[in-house]
Symmetry: C3
Subunit: 331 residues, 3 copies
C-alpha cells in the first residue's frame, strides 16, 4: 500500500503524472472519483488553505471528510513500548488503527515540536501513523510539505512550460520567529527532481537544512545532469534566475533553546525579496507558500507584481491534492 509522505520516493514520471492529472482536475473539478469514501483530516497545527482545499477537493470528488483538530483531541504518544505516564493520553498505535476502521484515508499535519531535531528529523508522528494505520496516509506538512511542492511545480509549469534546466533560486527570507524547514526541504526536493538548476541561498552555514535533504537534492540534481549550489551570496543566487522561491526557517542547531534566544537577528531583514534583487534575475517568477508576511518576507511590489505566482500556487493546492487522493484511492 502506497502513502504520500514525501515526494522523495515518487519518481519524476510519477510526479509528472500527478501534475498532469491535477491539470485535468483543474479543467474538470467535479468528478466522481471518491464516491462514498471517507477521509480523516488530522490537524495538530493551524491551517487555512490546507483545511479548506482538502475539504473542498474531497467534496468535489464525491467523498466526505472529518476534521480532527489538535484543540479538540489530546496529545498522542509515538514511541513503541513507552510507559505513558506523561501528557499523552493515547498511543498512535490505537489512534491510527481505530481511524483506519472508520475512514478510507488519513491525512495528517504534525509540525516538529522544535525540541529535539535528532528525534524530529525522523518525523515521529507521521512514521507512527504509517506503522499502524491500515489505510493510505497523506502528509499535510510535517518536516516536509509535499502537497505544497506539487502546487509549486504546477504553478511553475503553467508559467514556464518545461522546467528542465530552468534556474531556480531558493532563498531564505526574514521572519521574526524561527519557522519550520518543511517547505524549503520540499521545494529543494521538488526543484532538483524535476530537473531545475538549483541554488540555495542561506544567510550563513548556521541556517543549513538537514543534510539528508541536501544529499537527496544533490542526488536528484545529479540524476538530471544539473547542479545544486549552496551559497551565502545574494547576487550569485539571484543573478540570471528564472524563478525565485522564498521561505524563512529557523536554525536547526538552535532547536530546543528558549524562544527568546532563537529570534531572528534584525540584520537578516536584508534578505527580504525586493525589486532590487529581482532585477538581478532573468525576469524571474516569484513565489512563496502562504501565509506570508508582506513587506517582511517580500515587498508589496514583488508580491503584487505580474510575475508573482503566490495565488496560482495556493489555488493549485486544491488540484494537486485531488490528484494525490485519487492516485492513492486507485491503487
Amino acid at each position: 500500500m502506497r502513502h504520500f509522505l514525501t515526494t522523495e520516493d515518487w519518481s519524476k514520471a510519477e510526479l509528472q503524472a500527478l501534475l498532469d492529472d491535477a491539470r485535468e482536475l483543474k479543467a474538470n473539478p467535479r468528478q466522481d472519483r471518491l464516491r462514498g469514501k471517507r477521509i480523516a483530516l488530522v490537524f495538530m497545527n493551524p491551517s487555512l488553505r490546507t483545511r479548506t482545499s482538502f475539504q473542498v477537493g474531497i467534496t468535489d470528488l464525491g467523498g466526505s471528510s472529518v476534521v480532527l483538530d489538535a484543540g479538540g483531541t489530546w496529545p498522542l504518544e509515538t514511541e513503541d513500548g513507552a510507559v505513558m505516564d506523561g501528557t499523552a493520553e493515547e498511543h498512535v498505535a490505537e489512534a491510527a488503527r481505530v481511524l483506519s476502521t472508520y475512514v478510507d484515508m488519513i491525512a495528517i499535519r504534525a509540525f516538529p515540536k522544535f525540541e529535539d531535531w535528532s528525534v524530529e528529523r525522523h518525523d515521529p508522528v507521521l512514521s507512527a501513523f504509517v506503522r499502524y494505520a491500515t489505510v493510505p496516509i497523506v502528509n499535510m506538512e510535517t518536516i516536509v510539505h509535499p502537497c505544497q511542492e506539487l502546487a509549486m511545480l504546477m504553478a511553475l509549469q503553467e508559467r514556464h512550460g518545461s522546467l528542465q534546466g530552468q534556474k531556480m533560486c531558493l532563498t531564505w527570507t526574514y521572519h521574526p520567529k524561527p519557522l519550520n524547514t518543511a517547505v524549503m526541504n520540499s521545494a529543494l526536493l521538488a526543484a532538483t527532481k524535476m530537473g531545475m538548476e538549483v541554488t540555495l541561498l542561506m544567510p550563513s552555514d548556521e541556517y543549513m537544512l538537514d543534510e539528508k535533504f541536501i544529499e537527496a537534492g544533490s542526488r536528484f540534481a545529479g540524476e538530471n545532469g544539473r547542479g545544486l549550489t549552496l551559497t551565502h551570496d545574494v547576487e550569485e543566487a539571484y543573478r540570471g534566475a528564472d524563478a525565485v522561491y522564498a521561505k524563512s526557517w529557523g536554525r536547526l542547531d538552535q532547536i530546543g533553546l528558549p524562544m527568546e534566544e532563537r529570534l531572528t537577528p534584525d540584520a537578516l531583514r536584508r534578505f527580504i525579496v525586493d525589486e532590487e534583487k529581482m532585477a538581478l534575475t532573468n525576469n524571474a517568477t516569484f513565489s512563496h507558500c502562504l501565509p506570508m508576511r508582506r513587506n517582511v518576507k517580500a515587498t508589496d511590489a514583488v508580491v503584487d507584481g505580474s510575475n508573482s505566482l503566490i495565488i496560482e500556487e495556493a489555488e493549485n493546492r486544491l488540484h494537486v491534492q485531488k490528484a494525490v487522493l485519487s492516485a492513492l484511492n486507485d491503487q
Copy 2:
C-alpha cells in the same frame, strides 16, 4: 457583484423579496439551489446558531460548507501596505483571494476588537475581504448583523403582519460586560427601513450608537414618513409599543479602556425587560437575539410568555440565510 454586508444598501423592496423567499424556504426547506456550490464560513468569534444554521441551510440547498475557526488559523492583517512584523501572519489580500479560488461564497464573522472605534467603525476585516475577494461575501456579524435583523423582521411579520406604522421600542438592557453594538445597529436600520415608528431607549447619551447608524435610521424613517425618537425615559419608550426589541451594548467612548473600567454599573440593572415595563405596551411582542442571559436582560416571565418571539426569530435565521445565499448565487 453584490455582497450581503448590511441591509443599508438593500432597498425595502429587495429586503421584502428576501423575506418572502425565506417564507417559501420555511415551507419547502430542501431545494436544489446551491447544488455543487462550496461556501467558506469564517468565524473569528464563537458561534452556535450562526454556525449551525448556515451549515444546515447550505446542506439543505445542496451545497457544502467549510468552517474556519479563529482557533484553527492565525491573525489576519487588514491594512494595505502594512509592514507585517507584528502578530498577523497573513494579509487578507492573500486569504481572500485564495479562498475565492476554493469556494463560491465567503461568509465572515469578525467582531470589532473594541480597541479603537475610529478604526473599527469602518469594519476593517469585512472591508478588506470585500476589497480582495472575487466571490460574494456574507456578513455573519461584524459591526452590524444583517442576518439577525432579517430574522427579526420575518418573526415580526409572522406575528404582526404588515409592520408599517407599528411602534417599535428598541431598548438597551443590562449585561455585566460591554457588548458589541452590532445587533442594535442592525435592528435600528431594519425597523426604520421597513416603516416602523421607532423609539431607541438608552440609559444616557453615553450609550449613543455610532452617529452613522442614527443618521441612516433617521433617513429611513423619514423616507417612510415615520419618526426615530431617542430617549432615556423608560415609560416614554415602552408606552403603546407594539414590539419591544432588547439588546445590551457597551459605550463606544469607553472602547480601548481596560475592561474593569468598562463593566456596566449595577444601577443599570433596572433596564431589565420585565412584566411591569411590558404592561405599559400595546400587548407588545418581545424579542432579543440569542444568546441572552435570563433574569438579567429579561425576566423568565417575559422570555417565556406567549408574546416572546425569541425562538421564532432564531429559527428564522435558517430561512433568511438560505434566501440570502440563494439571492447572491443567482446574480
Copy 3:
C-alpha cells in the same frame, strides 16, 4: 419521544435489537436510513473516536452533521430560574429549543465538571437538553457512556457468542489523574443487564461508584439470576473470568478538592492489567475504552495480545451508533 441517554431504560431485548442491527450495519455500512436528516454533535469535551465515528456513520446513512465544539461556543446555564449574571451566556432552554428547529437529532458530550457530585450525579446538562429539546437526544458521554457500552457488548458477543453466565471482571486500573466514572458506570449496567456474572474490583471502598449504578447493576443481575460482587481482592476478581474490562476513575468523595490532592497514589500502580493477572483468568478477553495509556493502565503484552478487543470495540462504536440513530429516527 424516546432518547438514548442511558441503557438503563432500554430493555435487554431492545438492547439486543440494537446490537443485531449494528451487526447488519457492519455488513452493509451504507444505507439510506437518515436521508436528508441533520444531526448536531455538541462536544463540551475533547473527542477523537466519538466525533469521527458519529460523523462518518451519519454520512454513511445519508444524513449530515454539524459539530459544535466547546471552544467555538460559550458556557450554558442548566438551572431553571437562574439569574444569569455569572459566566453562562445562554440557557439550555434557548440552546436546545433553537437547535431543535435546525436539526432532527442532538447528540451531546458533557462530562461532569468534578465540582459537586451531588449536583453532577443528576447529569444536569443532558437533563436540561431533554427538558427543552423537541427532537431526540443522544448521550455521547456524560456520567454514563451508553454508546461505549453497546460497542463493548457487540465486541464481546462477536468473540464469546452468548454472554449469559459469562464471568466479567470489571477492574479499576491506574491513571495518574482522577477520571470520569462514566465508562465504568455504563460497563456495569450493560454487563449485568445482559446476564453476565459480574465482579467489580476497586482498590478500596473510597473508589465506590455512585450507589445508584451499584443498585441498578444489582437489580439487573438479579433479574438475570446472576450476582454482582464488589471486591478489593485482585485474585478473587480475575480468577476464572471470561472477560476483563478495565477503566480508571477518580474518587467521588474527592470531587471538588484541588487537583493536587486528587492525584492517584503511586501505590495503586499495581492495579495495571498485566499477563500475571490475566493468567488467573479463564483465557479471558481484555478490553478498555480508548484513549488508554499503555504500560500504565495495561501492559503492551495484554493490549497487543490476541485476546485484546480494544480495536474491535472502538470500531463497533461506528456500527452501534448508526443503529441507535436509526432507531431514534424510526420512532
